[in-house]
Each structure stands twice: as C-alpha cells, then as structure tokens.
C-alpha cells in the first residue's frame, strides 16, 4: 500500500527548519503547496534531496526545490540525482556562483534533445571500466578525464559527463567505448604526429580543412580498428548505421584508399586537397573532436622531457651492463653501440634493444619511454639513443620531484603536489570529491635526552614488557598428541599401546608437530598531534611511542608511525615519524621526541591515507591503531560535531572494508555517548588516566595482535 501523502503543513515545517527561513526568508509555502500535489514517493525523493543539499548550502537547496517538481515529469530520477550531486561538486570546487549557474542550466533542459538521457552512460559509471580498457590496448598510458566533449591530447582522453545518443544504456556504453578506441587510435597510429594546426593554416579556411582532415583520419583509423579490433569494429558499424548518414560517393573513394594496410597520416594529408574541395564532410557521432592546441601543448611539454629521461635511463642501463661484465672491453676506444629496433606488427609494439649486437632486455620504464617516443615520431630518432653524459641533465628538472610541503605556503594558495582525499558529508549522504588537500611532512627531530629519560623513568615497565614480548615472539612450540606430525610422540604411543593391550580403544593421536606461527603483522600508528594534546597528553603519547617501539623491535613486526593534524581541509598534514621501511634509529627516536602539538583534529584524511599506505605493505594481518584525545574537530569548519564523527566513522569503515583491523585508543573522558557510533567498525578502548597511556598502549597492542 502506498504511504499517505505528506500534508502541506508537515512539509512546511520541515522546510522551515532545513532552509533556515528565519534568516533566509525563503518562501517555502509555495514550494510546499507545489509538492503537495505529488505522490508520497516523489515527495520523499525531492524533500530528501533538499535536506541533503541544504547541508551543503541552503541557497542551492532552495534553488533545487524550486526547480525539481517541474523537472520530475521530464527528467529521469537518476539524472536528477546526478545533477544534484554534480551541483554540489561544483560548489565544492568553485563556489556558489558557478554552482548556481549549473543549477540554472537545467532550465534550458530540452526534452527532445535529451530523450535518451535516461539510458545515457554517465562518466562516473563508465570511466573506471574504460580507463582499464584503454590501458589494456597497447601504446602510451592514457588517462581518462571528464570534460566538455570527447577529445584527446595524446596523454589523456577526455569524455563528456553523459553519452546519450541512443535509447539503450548498453549501446550508449558501446558508443563511449568506440569513441575511446578511436581517440586511442589517434595516439597509437600517428594522427597526432603532424602539426595539425600548421597543416590547416595552409588552406584559405583552416576550420574547413581541419574538419576534413579529421574525417579522413577517422576513416583511416576506423579501417585500422577493423583489422586490430574486429569485434569493436562490428559494433562501430552497427551504431554508425543507426546514427550516421551513409558516406557520400567521393568519400567512399577516400575510404577505399585509406583502408590499405600501410596507410599512414601522409595518405590522409595527400587526400586533403581533394577533400577540401568537396562540399560534403562526413561526421560520425563516435568521432569526438580535434583540439590541435591541446595536442601541440602536450607534445611540446613531453618531447624534451622524454628525450632527457630516455637518455639518462640508457646511460644507467649501459653502466649496469659494463659493470656486470667481468673484464671491461679494452678501454673506451669505441663507445658501445646501442641500437633499438621497434617491432610494430600484429597490434603488438615491442622493442629489440641491442648493445654491440648482443640483445639486452630493457626494464619496463625504458620500454614505456621507447613506446612513447615511438608514438611521437614513428621511429626512435638516433639522437635519442646517445646515452646522457655525466651532469648533462639536472635530474631535478627531468624527473618529477616531490614537492616541498612547506614551499606551497610561501607562494600562492594552490594544491600542487598534494594528495587529494574525499570526505564523507553525512548531510549530503555523499562524498565530497578531492576535498582534503593532504601533504606528508617529516617531524623536526629533537635531539635531546627524552629517549633515555623515558627508558629510565619506565625502567621497571620496560623490563616487564621485554619479558612479555619475548615470550610472544617465541611462538614455535611443539604440539603433542597430534593426528599427523613430523615425529612420533613416544609418550602417546606407549600409552596407546598400553591401552591396546588393556583392550580399550587406542588413540590415533600419536605424533608431535612443530607449530610455527610466523608473525606476519604490519601495523600503523596514527597519533593525534592536535593542539589539544598540549602538555600531559603530548608527553604521554611520546613516552608511549618509545615504549611501543622498544617492544615492537623485539617482535619484529613491521610498523610505521604518523602524526596527524590540520587546519581546514586545505591544509591537512600527516607527519612522518617512522615509515615502514625506516629503521628504529637515532633519527626516529629524535622525531618521537620532537612531536609537538600542532593544530586541529581532522581525522578522515589521515585514516584514508594510512589505509592506503597499509595496503601497500605485504602482510597477513594489517592493524591500524589510532591514538587520539577526543572528538574530531577543525578550525571554523563544519568538521566539528556530527560531520566529523560521521566522516571518521566512514573512514574507519572504508579501512575495515579493505581488510584492515582498525583499533582506536582514546583519552576522551567526557563524551562517551558518540564513541560507539564513531568507532562502529573499529574496536576501541577509553583510557581514563593519561598517565596510564605509556604502559597501557603496549599492553593493548600485545592483546590485539595475539
């Protein structure tokens, strides 16, 4: 049975609260009246979204509410939802004005033009699949991005947010796939090698020339795809038959010419004069568009950099090879001859690298560079093959360098070199994409007596811990009376024989077996470095870490320690104290001593980053231990309160979903009510007394990992 419709009064009451009408003066009465005519299901849908958007921005929610009832009849709910989420994303990225503009665009939504939208392929749905798809095709690695139209610059493929030319979802997906394949073919089969803008500029009407060149190339690449990817080509023909008019006769002649096996870009260029004269110019719905500027810009940035990279890599390769030879060839009279023969046949692209006629196997990095260079030139130019001399290039300029996390703050306010993490907005019930700007920094080490003082202070505890942990480590034990084992359990056998003589039943548990429980644990500790830890808590944390490291060194577990803090989402900082690969040395000890309270407690990004790091470590069991002093909080931001709790909860859930065991140790004594909810996915423990921390943490660790 359908639920009762909501009354105008009921809806008004909710809208007044959500839209904060006391201050905003939005006239919700009219909206409520409009909603009253809808079914309960539709009411719930729209009201739900008003509430969710309102948590992001009230004006946006109001604008959504004003438009949504009218749109409901002509727009699919799936699209309405996508539109709402998209608006919020735009708001996150660029603010209210642009978001309102996106909101308004929907007014010009023309039903007839969008009659297939319901079955449209949304970028977010298809990009993971097509991203992998294009990765599987040979050639340069291309990334898929969302943009205004379908085009490529030779390094990325841009697709529009929605592809909806056909009334069927599967067909629209196929269309997107064909578009991606055609754009990939432009890079793979040399369309982008020429100076396309330059070619077009030779004609009176460059636009017209470019369009015709693009059509010729599309013909050539389609023929290429027919040979390389026949399955895809069949789909292409089927969809083109539905969407595009038949080819004019002149163009059919061009098609035949360009279908030849060895046809290259030059053949298309040769036909361009004739095509330019022709009044017709075919266009296909799968071809995307050509952006010569973007192509030229990407190519210009790539060429020199890759040349330098390749030459440096070749020099390294050469050095390795001469070092491996027992007796170096009599001095360097003639420099070793390096040859690269590309083999581009049957859809496979491979390179044969020879050094003085002896084949050598190039590492993956070199192969990828060779591929990229080959795609730019159709060969490997000889000057790319002279290994770089000493000091010829500055590696800082050639290879991407990690950005100095502090340098960003000296200059303009940007996100360069940072990692972006999403954040869960519980009001919106959706992630805020690329919301947290995260950087890793190293704690400034403090070389003082803290380490020694701590060990002195806890001398008794340390001794006790050592004993306990050593007992843990020694886990190889002989299990007696097993059904199977390496050796016979003589005691059990004698007993069994006695039993048999006695006439009673004889046990079959006659073997001993060496049980070897190899510890295979990786653990990451995430320490609260927010300002509120100042004083006692900070000291207790540092002491706890020292004791913990002492114990962990005994066990041989792999561990990492990071501190987290931040001010607003733009400045989320993780402080490296010890990475998984680092040894517990003087430097690490000094860093522990150097942990100082910083700013606020934004937890989600830190948990997400640690989840990522932990998952890169190979271990049977992965544990993520957080040590914090209270509820999540951030400076002048919604993060305080429910929002932060929900985001933290979500981040813990995400971690648990990847198989990590999260465990939280908290010193928050007051507000225990929210803890069970926030730590839903994690086990947690509350410590009442800060002074217990150093002793307890180690003990807790022992319990959770055995």
């Amino acid at each position: 049975m359908a639920q009762q419709q909501l009354t105008t009064a009921e809806m008004e009451a909710s809208l007044h609260i959500w839209l904060d009408t006391e201050f905003t003066y939005f006239k919700v009465e009219q909206l409520a009246a409009e909603l009253a005519t809808l079914t309960r299901d539709e009411q719930d849908f729209i009201l739900g979204w008003i509430r969710r958007i309102a948590s992001t921005h009230i004006t946006l929610a109001w604008q959504f509410g004003r438009r949504a009832p009218a749109l409901l009849s002509r727009m699919e709910r799936r699209l309405l939802e996508a539109w709402a989420v998209h608006t919020c994303d735009v708001f996150d990225r660029t603010g209210l004005q642009t978001a309102l503009r996106v909101m308004e665009e929907v007014d010009s939504f023309d039903e007839t033009q969008h009659r297939n939208d319901a079955a449209g392929a949304l970028f977010d749905d298809i990009s993971p699949i097509l991203g992998t798809f294009v990765c599987g095709l040979s050639g340069r690695r291309l990334h898929i991005e969302e943009g205004d139209d379908a085009w490529t610059d030779g390094e990325r493929i841009v697709l529009p947010p929605l592809i909806a030319a056909l009334p069927d979802l599967d067909d629209n997906f196929q269309l997107a796939k064909i578009t991606v394949a055609l754009l990939w073919a432009q890079t793979r089969y040399g369309t982008l090698r020429a100076d396309l803008a330059g070619v077009a500029a030779r004609y009176a009407d460059p636009e017209r020339a470019l369009a015709r060149l693009y059509a010729l190339e599309t013909l050539r690449l389609s023929a290429r795809i027919a040979r390389e990817l026949p399955g895809l080509y069949r789909q292409m023909q089927r969809l083109r038959a539905q969407l595009d008019p038949a080819l004019p006769p002149t163009w059919q002649r061009f098609e035949a010419r360009l279908a030849a096996d060895q046809a290259t870009l030059d053949d298309s260029l040769a036909l361009l004069d004739a095509a330019y004269e022709d009044t017709d110019c075919p266009q296909w719905s799968d071809q995307g568009c050509l952006r010569p500027d973007a192509i030229a810009a990407a190519r210009a940035a790539r060429l020199d950099k890759e040349k330098a990279r390749l030459r440096i890599k070749l020099a390294e390769l050469l050095e390795e090879h001469t070092a491996a030879q027992p007796d170096p060839p009599s001095a360097a009279e003639t420099p070793p001859e390096l040859n690269v023969t590309p083999r581009d046949e049957n859809g496979l692209l491979d390179f044969e690298v020879t050094l003085d006629d002896a084949p050598i196997a190039p590492p993956d990095g070199v192969k990828q560079l060779l591929t990229s260079v080959y795609l730019d030139f159709g060969e490997i130019p000889p000057d790319y093959l002279t290994p770089a001399g000493d000091g010829e290039y500055d590696p800082n300029l050639v290879f991407d360098q990690p950005e100095d996390p502090d340098a960003v703050w000296h200059g303009t306010y940007h996100e360069k070199g940072a990692e972006l993490y999403p954040e869960w907005d519980h009001g919106r019930q959706h992630y805020r994409k690329n919301w947290c700007v995260m950087r890793e920094k190293t704690v400034t080490p403090a070389y003082d007596d803290f380490y020694r003082d701590t060990l002195d202070k806890y001398a008794g505890v340390v001794k006790h811990l050592r004993r306990k942990f050593e007992a843990l480590r020694d886990e190889n034990r002989i299990e007696k009376r097993q059904v199977q084992g390496d050796e016979i359990d003589i005691d059990a056998l004698i007993e069994a024989l006695a039993d048999a003589k006695d006439g009673s039943e004889m046990s079959d548990r006659l073997f001993v077996r060496l049980h070897r429980a190899e510890r295979n644990i990786a653990v990451a500790f995430l320490v609260d470095m927010s300002g509120s830890t100042k004083g006692w808590i900070n000291e207790a944390e540092r002491e706890a870490l020292i004791l913990l490291c002492e114990a962990l060194e005994l066990l041989g577990d792999r561990y990492a320690i990071y501190g987290f803090s931040g001010t607003t989402r733009k400045r989320c900082e993780l402080f490296r104290i010890k990475t998984f690969d680092e040894r517990y040395d003087g430097e690490v000890k000094a860093r522990i001593s150097g942990i100082r309270p910083q700013e606020y407690t934004r937890m989600g990004f830190a948990l997400r980053h640690m989840t990522k790091l932990l998952n890169q470590v190979e271990a049977k069991t992965r544990v993520l231990v957080t040590l914090s002093d209270g509820r999540p909080d951030d400076y002048f931001d919604v993060y305080r309160g429910q929002y932060g709790i929900e985001d933290t909860r979500m981040a813990l859930l995400e971690a648990a979903r990847t198989g990590i065991h999260p465990f939280c140790i908290t010193l928050d004594r007051d507000a225990r009510d929210y803890l069970p909810h926030m730590y839903g996915a994690a086990r947690y423990i509350i410590l009442d007394d800060v002074r217990q921390l150093p002793v307890k943490v180690t003990d807790i660790y022992r319990r959770i990992t055995t």
């Binding site: 993971p128 699949i129 097509l130 991203g131 992998t132 798809f133 990765c135 599987g136 095709l137 040979s138 690695r141 796939k177 394949a181 990817l229 026949p230 399955g231 895809l232 049957n346 859809g347 496979l348 390496d486 050796e487 016979i488 056998l493 024989l497 048999a500 006659l510 060496l514 070897r516 295979n520 190979e618």
Partner: protein, 270 residues
Amino acid sequence: MNARTLDPAHHLIEKEPYYEAVGEEIQLFEAAYRQQIPVLLKGPTGCGKTRFMEHMAWRLKRPLITVSCHDDLTASDLVGRYLVKGGETVWVDGPLTRAVRCGGICYLDEIVEARKDTMVVIHPLADDRRTLPMEKLGQVVEAPPEFCLAISYNPGYQSVLKDLKQSTRQRFVALEFDYPSAALERRIVASESGVSDAIADNLVRFAQMTRNLKGSGLEEGASTRLLVHAGKLIADGVSPVTACKAAVAQAVTDDADMLKAIQELSSSIF
C-alpha cells in the same frame, strides 16, 4: 571407468609431452643434467615450467617426482617420517628420498612457498656432495648420477617474505622462463587446444592486452595456460567471448570493474 594408479618413482612418461623450446633451455638442461648441477626455473605462473619438466623427464627417460610446495610443507614431508603400524614404528620415505633412491628427477614446484627449514634439507643435495642426510634414521643417502634436482620459483611476487635465500639460489643453474613470443605462443595455443591459427592469434593478442594491465589493477596477466583453456573451450563450440570470460577474465580477477574491462577487451577483438 578405472583410473590408473601410478607409482611416480617407477613410472616413465610414455608419450612426448608437447613443448616448444623458446631458446636453448633444452640443451642447457641436458648439459646441467650430465654435469650433475641442479636447476632453478624462474618465471611467471602458467608459462610452461611444469610442462618443460615433463618434457625433460621424457627426453632423459627418468621418472619425474613433482612436489608442489605449500606453506605448511616441512622437511619431514620431503625426507620421510616414522609412522605407527600395528604397534610398531615404520619409516616411510618422502618423495625427495624416493627420487634420490631411484635416480629420478625431483621437481620442487614453487619452492619459496615451503617453510624455511625445508630449504636446508636440499642444500647438501644441491652442491657437489649430492647427499641426502636423514637425521632421524642416522643415515646419509648418496644420490646416483641419474638423480636430478630442479626447483621453480616465481620472482614476480616481489615480496621480501617470498624471496629465495642467496645460499639456496647460488647452488643452481638458473633457466629463465617468460611468456613465449607472440608467434610461438600462437603455435602453442593452436596445437594444444586445436583452434585455428586465426583464433589462436586473437587469443594471443587478447593475452597481450591483459598483460598490459599488469600493475594497473591486475597482479598478473593471462598466462599461456589460460589461453589454452580458452582455446579448448572455443574448439568445443563455446563462443570466443564467453570462453575468454570463463577461462581468462574470471581466472585473473574478481574485481567487477576489471572484469568488465577485460570483457570489453575480448569483445573488441572477437
């Protein structure tokens, strides 16, 4: 229907196992065999290591005893142990001991999976001593000249835990295996599965695409073995796209998006 029961220590492979040499591995193995040097086979899964061993056993006319190592495999599992039989203890040889005694070829597959202590057992067998000490019996078995030890190892795991110790690896002659070249792989797929050259060609191209995905969400690309499986299904009348899905895509991943992407690759080719 009666399955044959074979005693590997006395069974000789009768029919020539199909094997296409990629390089000089057959000559190398034969030379190492004559010189009594143990052999280490390196390479990704499904590229033909086990088949190569069968082929060599057939060529050299020696019994082949294969042990697939797992993380619970102990030294006694290889050497032998006492069992209780009617109130008395009886010694039972393990597969390694049996191979030594009968002068066969012992092939320890995926040796790094075994426990660390098992490696030590093979050390005296793998150097010029060529002996197998059996501590529990207080005996030492001397290997006859016909005995040969071969181990395999997949360096692709890239895990510190699953690395072969230097003291072990430096006792062996190493043969490196990789996926065969496209032309060779096509021939292998065609002759093993019975599909036409054209289909074998497409299968190989499809495999290459999945190998391009290694490191971008896929741990390992499709092996030659998987292609042969797919080829056999196709030869039996299954449509190529369905065969690729069942035999290749589902075998290399469980991830839904990855599955779909691999599906799209295969449907693009066929």
